[in-house]
């Protein structure tokens, strides 16, 4: 049996926790329904919120892409196909060396990254996973239902060679694919 003193301690602790929980809930509801949060794309995240979300995204991709088996990449036909897929689907948001993305890609928030540094950030299995499944709440579409499997790998292969291209080579590459079509 608890002594009176212990009973008082337990009662105070429970009531304090309940009070704190109710207050936190009320504040949360007020923020949610008050509409104070600026959802506009011209209002940037606080820096630490951006960093935390980005870190979570990175770790999630690492984890989910772990079991992806990477086929042999980089033969000439595959790179040609990859350049074509990149030009038709990726360029509009990500741009390329010396080539700007469309105004839609420029003003998305979060901003689609330039893929010229993609190989420093991601391994091929991760690039494939991101391309196939997309990134929730970022605007990155899941291409699984819009590209064939060989097209997915072709664009991954192309993204791994794109960082070595200067502006002129990149322009020539996507132009050549245009005329070859």
């Amino acid at each position: 049996m608890l002594s009176n003193r212990h009973r008082l301690i337990v009662k105070t602790a429970v009531l304090t926790l309940l009070g704190a929980g109710a207050t936190a809930g009320a504040v949360g509801l007020a923020v949610l329904y008050g509409g104070w949060y600026n959802i506009g794309a011209t209002a940037q995240h606080f820096p630490y919120i951006y960093s935390v979300l980005e870190e979570g995204m990175k770790q999630s991709v690492r984890n989910h892409a772990e079991d992806v088996k990477v086929p042999r990449l980089g033969d000439a036909a595959q790179l040609r196909l990859g350049a074509q897929v990149y030009r038709d689907n990726c360029l509009q948001c990500h741009g390329g060396p010396g080539v700007a993305q469309s105004s839609i890609g420029m003003s998305m928030q979060p901003i689609p990254g330039p893929l010229v540094d993609a190989t420093q950030r991601w391994d091929p299995n991760e690039l494939y996973w991101v391309t196939k499944h997309g990134i929730k709440m970022s605007g990155m579409p899941a291409w699984e239902y819009h590209l064939r499997e060989d097209e997915l790998w072709a664009v991954v292969a192309f993204v791994t060679v794109m960082p070595a291209m200067d502006a002129r080579t990149f322009r020539a590459t996507i132009a050549r694919e245009e005329t070859a079509k």
Binding site: G95, G98, Q101, S107, P112, P114, V116, D117, D166, R168
Partner: protein, 120 residues
Amino acid sequence: MNVLKMLALASLLLTLTACAPKGPPGGVLGDPARGKVALTQYACQSCHLIPYVPGSKVYVGRPLSEMARREVLAGAVPNDQAGLMRWIMDPQSIDPNTAMPNMGVSERDARDMSAYLLTH
């Protein structure tokens, strides 16, 4: 007035000057606050680290901190506001082989962006 009061007043003054918003240095035209938003609407932060603009750690383009201290742009053009605006609006006119794309920035937006960069 005793010494303590004078010290308190001096530290208050110092604090106030530190908090005062930085106006553009002499001769810089445009609206730095509008320029900061404009920088994010032309995807500048996707390749450049920009002071006080949240984003990934990217080094595709050079970091844009302390732009006011730089003397030349792309090794070719004096880094005054006119030169910076020209680089922002048409980088290929300065360096035909640069990997920085022409982002189609309007003159007003380029003026405001340069005002922000030259004051941060």
